[in-house]
Amino acid sequence: MRKLLWCVVLVVLLVVASALAAEKTWESQPGEFKGQTITVLITDPHSAVVESWKPEWEALTGAKVEMVVVPYASLYDKMMTDFITGTGAYDLICWPSTWAGDVMGGGWVLPLEDLMEEYGYPDWDDVVPAIKLIVSWGGKVYALPYDGDCHMLYYRKDALENPDYRAKFKEKYGYEYNIPPKSWEEIMDISEFFTGWDWDNDGETEYGIAFIAQRKTQAMWSYLDIAMQYAAQPGVAPFFDPDTMEPQVNNPGWVEAMDVIQKLTKFAPPGLLSYGYSELRQAFVSGNSAIALDWGDIGILEQSPEKYGSKVKGLLGYGPLPGSMKTYDFKAKRWIEGYNQVNFLNFGGWVFSISKFSKNPVPAYKFATYFTAPERSLLDVCGIHGYTGANPWRFSHFKNIDKWVEGGWGKDSVTKYLETIQTILSDPKAITDLRIPGAAEYYDYLDLYLAEVLSGTKAPKDACDAIYAEWVKITETHGKEKQKALYRESLGLPAE
């Protein structure tokens, strides 16, 4: 009798435990957050993702999602003001992981280990390692991945692969260029060659190259695409000397890159300096240039002639960042002759974090895991939900080609596009973006003096010297030793 009683108690306990365990899942349950409201701070076009999933999740859980959509240029101050004042106006924040030093390092967002352990996470092993890295700080996860970011090269196949044009190019420059172009030296010549004439016979004059160049709209990443080749080697980040925290931004490699980008403006459309990321994408898919640099977004816009006015569907080729024929070794203080190509994880990717002042961390976590789950996030990156700003970041995103085809892609195109992105993201020697505290400020000064170089009001060397002086000041203000320790940690180097 006594044994039977124990058995009954055990069974009851097991049932209760399994029932409790069943509730603790990342997958949202019907009516589970009825009457609760979460507020999401987000920029355009990422708001498209939240807009896509919001009605479904609200109907399922009974919660309400409010969005505060701000322009990119205002995101940092809106977010930080909320943190510093402790207002807690936003529960979930979509922010670029390059601000990790301030956001994660400042302790403004919740570490997610507890929530991940309690509720689980939709297939963590499916997340590409480079992306796992960017959501972490000091060994802890502070953000949910949502976007895989790296710049890549886009080129017009109808221009660069045209045999007549290739022959004329060879006649003029004395060599045949690679497809996709392999170096910035080649890019310079190709850009010059395709500037100022109607090479696609649409009745309009076309240009060689387009990139983001407008101040405060992420132009510094266009420059960093070049600087990585002239001032870094695979796996060796070029921002500071990790032993002294001396900024390297005015060494000959960085100056050379500044010179290259200044020269490239001559082969760009007249409106180049007003190109933010939106303007660049729109202009390039409308067919005005032969080459462009961007994250994966141009590929998405390319597929939609009706929605985004693309005139280049199926006409684009994709490739990694071009390399250089020499690179500056800042340790040895000398140029190394020979081909150098570095993959760079510009921006790192957008991520979602929960504010430490949030009053609704659980609904916020479950909403974010809801739309970042493998099958749902695939719809956001492949074009089915249109241009969302999110690029592939899960292994499964790279495998499910059929969904991409459903999103408007040609099978060949998408295969090459995904191959390019996956190669960059899975490169173990790819350089991660600057992630130390003050990264936004370091980059703002880079952006500022770059703008002066692009507009022709400052010489490349003077601009690099000015950036150097500002970077020294910023490092001093944050504390040189502290910055050095964090920089070394961000590079995976041992503490001194």
Partner: protein, 287 residues
């Protein structure tokens, strides 16, 4: 005694409001201006004495650049707005056809919110799709980089300001002109004065006090230039259109260097006070 307490009781809410909304922020920002505080990284505040002020004047070329641009901007836009406003007020004070229609039309730009004006002009001047650029291109001005040439863009910004704020001058001057006694003009005409003489010896001296007031108000407002820079140029190309208030905003709300931003704000305040004092003295002299 009781009467005094009642008076004080009535005054108290107002005083408390004033203390909380004006006096406290001023004292707090003055205190902060003597500190280094990188708020974004949750770093503690460190007292640095007058270091921030020394840095502003000796180590910050961006401050001097923004001050230079702001002073030039204020000088040009206020002068042009005053001249155009005076011209328009003089014309529309006369009995001309469609006078009321034009009066309303000229007031419209001022009625629009400055940030909306900024974004509207940004779209109009967009190099690829802007209608103004397309029209100018068709006139052969297709090589002019309106928003991306560091030598030209400051003047584009000034032109937008003039478009928006000339109505302010026009309105004030027109109201003043309409309040002048007709007898003065009659007397001048009887004395055989020409239109130019009437304007120069009758209208202009009467307008002078109101002109100084309008210039004072407009100059203080123009000195706080922010929305047009934020919406049209973002301070660029480079720093060619970075105004003092935009630079202060950048330091405060982009770099979250709150101590330095407060120091910049105080320097800004002192400059505006000196300018206002100069114009007020001038006003007193005229009156």
């Amino acid at each position: 005694m009781r009467k005094e307490a009642t008076k004080f009781g009535f005054l108290l809410p107002g005083l408390l409001y004033l203390m909380a909304m004006a006096v406290f922020p001023l004292i707090w920002s003055l205190t902060l201006s003597f500190h280094r505080w990188k708020a974004a990284t949750a770093a503690p505040r460190v007292f640095v004495g007058i270091e921030n002020f020394l840095n502003i004047f000796s180590r910050d070329p961006r401050f001097w650049n923004s001050l230079r641009f702001t002073v030039l901007y204020v000088a040009i836009v206020v002068s042009v707005e005053l001249s155009l406003g005076l011209l328009l007020a003089y014309i529309l004070n006369e009995r001309i056809r469609f006078r009321n229609f034009f009066r309303v039309l000229f007031l419209l730009p001022m009625a629009a919110p400055p940030i909306a004006v900024a974004f509207m002009w940004r779209m109009l001047l967009n190099p690829d799709a802007g209608i103004v650029v397309k029209i100018l291109n068709s006139m052969g001005l297709n090589m002019v980089r309106w928003l991306t040439d560091a030598r030209l863009t400051p003047f584009v910004l000034m032109a937008v300001d003039i478009w928006e704020w000339t109505p302010f001058m026009f309105l004030g001057l027109l109201a003043a002109m309409q309040s002048f006694p007709v007898s003065l003009y009659d007397a001048a005409q009887v004395d055989g004065a020409s239109r130019l003489q009437i304007f120069w010896f009758v209208t202009f001296p009467l307008l002078l006090p109101i002109m100084v007031t309008l210039v004072l108000l407009r100059a203080i407002d123009a000195f706080k230039l922010f929305e047009l820079v934020f919406g049209i140029t973002g301070g660029g190309p480079g720093t060619s259109t970075e105004s003092l208030s935009y630079y202060t905003y950048t330091v405060g709300f982009q770099y979250f260097d709150l101590g330095y931003a407060c120091a910049l704000s105080w320097v800004f305040l002192v400059i505006v006070l000196i300018m206002a004092n100069f114009l007020l003295k001038r006003l007193r002299k005229e009156v």
